[in-house]
Structures are given as structure tokens and as C-alpha cells.
Amino acid sequence: MQVNENKEFRPRIVAFCCNWCSYVGADLAGSSRMEYPADVKIIRVPCSCRVNPMFILRAFERGADGVILCGCHPGDCHYSTGNYYARRRMTMLFSMLDYLGIEKERTRVEWVSAAEGAKFAATMNEFIDTVKNLGENRKLRDLRCKE
């Protein structure tokens, strides 16, 4: 549904939220009526460690302009250790994206607890601003340009 052709750039943002902390934090942002742009769409996963780098790459490839992963704070993981693995995996993935020349600011990890509705909303606002400034993500969609 194309709303308005001339409107400003509206980024597509995919947010992965763990079921136990960040998804609840996002709900809390909602029940506290804290505003953030509608560009963010949340995918619920059991734990930040469920997020496969493939999902993030897939999102970019399909046209996402930014991907953010939210999980419980380190030490508070519902599954005790999940976010520690996620932290290493994402660090590796992000550094590789950076290495390939893709703006690292399009990817982000943020730890949001179930009580941090405000942090969730603030993070989303901030992230969307960052991505907006970067503009549309072209690089990842056609990294392998066929000659």
C-alpha cells in the first residue's frame, strides 16, 4: 500500500526481540504509550541466541534498511547463557559487514529488559534516525553485481 510517493524516506526496520525481556519491554512501551515510528516491525524469538546471522542478511537482502536485535541484559538471560552467545555472534557478524563496506550503523544490538519500555522506545527512535540519515540501503541488496 503505497501511501504517498513524495513522502520522506521511510526506512524498513526489522527488530528481533527476545520473548522474555525485550518483547515485554516493547509491550511496556506500548502500554505506556511511548511513541516511535511505525517503520519498526518486531519479530518475536524465544531468545536473542535464536537469531541466526542468516536472518539478518536475509532482511537486508530483501530490502531492510536496518536490523536491530534486542535481548535480555547479559547475565539476565531467561536461558542463562543465550545472550552471551548472541553477543559474540553479532559482534562477529557486524565486524564482517563493516569489513565488506556496509555501514555498520545499520545493525545494532541493544539489551532491553522487560522493565525498560522507555529504553525500547528511545532506542527505536534513535536507531530510525540513524538509519534515516544513512538513507536507503542499496549496498547489501546487490553486493554481487553481475557484470
Binding site: 542468516m54 542478511l57 559482534t91 564482517m96 563493516d98 565488506l100 563496506g101 553486493l143 554481487r144
Partner: protein
């Protein structure tokens, strides 16, 4: 080489091993093909010289599942791949007899060709000098000028094997294995993007890198798995086209021993090892020095953690410009 042959014959004779995984002279005089020699068949065509670059460890996945004991010749760098494969339960060690052999770096014939030598019919190795016979005459080159990329930065010493055959002292080239990675890191994102775009666009998705990689030792991997959401073999979906190499590098991160085979076999000359080395460098810097295949017990850096690990945002802080 003679000592290797003697050792094999000795082990054949006393019944220690039934087969030998080694190299055989191939179609061209400088071709060396991995080959399984049997006690019965003897060592006809066996060779070990500057052209035996193949890492044989991966062949053990299949060979060690066969009956009888197989002797494998492992260059220092290959011993790491072997350990890593053992750590991942890919090799039935009870059927394997490992022999570490000396290595003075292997010659990359492609480099000779790049020097303008075409129509090569024969290459004779004489100490540090190679005599290349081509259809257009003989040329001499220094061996050290045409070593494989992977050998230029190799500082590996052989890990423990059932038997070790020592060679003469060899001064390894001292190329810093992270030098090129650092050069790339120093570039602007645009330059880096341009670099990789140029390189990766050459990929014909022949899967040679994957087939040769000892860390890609899986019977099936995500690319063969219909349920992974990204399965494919050829250029059917843009996704793995774009991301095949990133995912491959990610899957071998923490497991890659930096054997360099991927780049060596790439028919398009894509410097794939630079992806792996980037991960190795990051792992070393962020989580402490780690050498995959150093032993068969330790957990890989991506299947372990410390509570004090850095946050992914470190990439913003330290990453390139």
C-alpha cells in the same frame, strides 16, 4: 621424500597400515592429485615436493570410515585441520595413522603463469631454483617468489602425530598474515565495498572453496538443506549469491585453521582467505588468541563466552573509518 617412502614401506611391511593417503603425479608434470595408495598397489606415482599443496585431512572423513588403517601425510598446517576435524568427530581416529611431514612452502603454478610463462611442459625443482620448461624455452625462477599465498604467512609447526618425519631447517617467509586485512580495514567503507564488489562479483558459485575446506566438512550444510530457507546449489536465488561467502565465513569462524585452501583453489582468484582472516583477527583481538585445531579439546570461540565479553557496539568504535 625418500624418507617418507621408506617410512611408508616400513609401515606397509610391518602391517601397521593398509592404505596411504598421499599425492600422485597427475596429468601435468607439476600436477599433484590426492591419491590413496594401497599395500597391494604400491607407491607407484607417489610424489612429495613443492607442488603437493592439497590439504589431505578432509579426505579422512571418508577414508577413516573404510576398513583397515589409513596412513595420512600431514604438512604442518594440515595437522591443525586434522585436529579440528577430530574435535568435531568427523574422523574415526582409530583407523588413522598420522605422519607429519616437513614443508618448505608450496609452489603456486598460477603465479608462474601470471609471470607470463605459458605452455609450461615441465618444472624441475633444484633446491631454491625452479627450471620451468615451456613450449617457448626454459626459464629459471626463485622458488620463494612463486610460493602459494597461504605459504607466505604460514608460521605453523606440526602438532603431535603418530609419527613425525623431520625435514631440514627452513626459514619461513615472514609475511604478516593480517597485513592485507589491516590494509582493507584502513580503507573507507566505500573503498572496501568496491574491493569486495569487484572480488565477489567474480564468483561463479562452483563450490570449490566449500569442497576443499576442511571446516566445511559437513555431509550436508545449510545450502543443501531445504528447511534452512536458503538452500541452493546454483544461481537460483540472489540471496546466497550475495551472501554465500559471508555465511560460509561465519560458519567456519572459530573453526577455520587458516589453511588457505579456499583461496588456492578458487578458479576466479577471489582472496577468500581474507574473509576468514578477518574473523580470526577479530577473535584474537576480542576474545583472546585462538588457533583452531591447536588441540582437539578446546571449545571454539563462538561456542563459548565470558561474562565480560565486549558488546557488539565495539564494531562502531574500532571498525574502519
Amino acid at each position: 621424500m625418500q624418507r617418507i617412502v621408506d617410512k611408508i614401506n616400513e609401515l606397509f611391511a610391518n602391517g601397521t597400515v593398509d592404505r596411504v593417503l598421499g599425492w600422485k603425479v597427475g596429468e601435468f608434470s607439476y600436477d599433484r592429485t590426492p591419491y590413496v595408495f594401497t599395500k597391494e598397489g604400491g607407491l607407484d606415482g607417489f610424489a612429495y615436493d613443492s607442488f603437493c599443496a592439497n590439504n589431505l585431512s578432509k579426505y579422512l572423513i571418508a577414508e577413516s570410515r573404510k576398513e583397515g588403517k589409513v596412513l595420512v601425510l600431514l604438512k604442518p598446517c594440515d595437522t591443525y585441520s586434522y585436529n579440528q576435524l577430530v574435535a568435531e568427530n568427523r574422523i574415526k581416529t582409530e583407523n588413522v595413522y598420522t605422519v607429519s611431514i616437513p614443508c618448505k612452502g608450496k609452489v603456486d603454478v598460477e603465479k608462474l603463469k601470471a609471470m607470463g610463462m605459458t605452455g609450461i611442459t615441465d618444472i624441475v625443482e633444484n633446491g631454491e631454483e625452479l627450471t620451468v620448461t615451456t613450449l617457448y624455452g626454459d626459464e629459471k625462477v626463485n622458488r620463494c617468489d612463486v610460493l602459494c599465498e597461504k605459504c607466505l604467512a604460514c608460521q605453523k609447526t606440526a602438532k603431535e602425530c603418530d609419527e613425525a618425519i623431520e625435514g631440514e631447517a627452513y626459514e619461513k617467509p615472514h609475511k604478516d598474515r593480517f597485513a592485507t586485512v589491516e590494509e582493507l580495514e584502513a580503507m573507507s567503507p566505500e573503498e572496501r565495498f568496491a574491493f569486495w564488489r569487484k572480488e565477489l562479483s567474480k564468483c561463479i558459485r562452483c563450490n570449490a572453496c566449500r569442497n576443499v575446506c576442511p571446516a566445511c566438512s559437513y555431509i550436508k550444510c545449510v545450502f543443501d538443506n531445504d528447511n534452512s530457507g536458503i538452500a541452493s546449489k546454483a544461481n537460483t536465488d540472489e540471496f546466497q549469491e550475495n551472501m554465500f561467502h559471508i555465511i560460509r565465513a561465519f560458519h567456519v569462524a572459530g573453526r577455520c585453521t587458516d589453511c588457505g585452501e579456499c583461496s588456492r583453489v578458487c578458479p576466479q582468484g577471489i582472496p577468500l582467505h581474507l574473509l576468514n582472516r578477518k574473523f580470526i583477527k577479530e577473535i584474537n583481538e576480542l576474545y583472546g588468541e585462538y588457533q583452531a585445531g591447536d588441540n582437539t579439546e578446546s571449545r571454539g570461540p563462538l561456542t563459548s563466552f565470558t561474562k565480560e565479553d565486549c558488546e557488539p557496539s565495539i564494531v562502531y568504535e574500532k571498525g574502519g573509518k
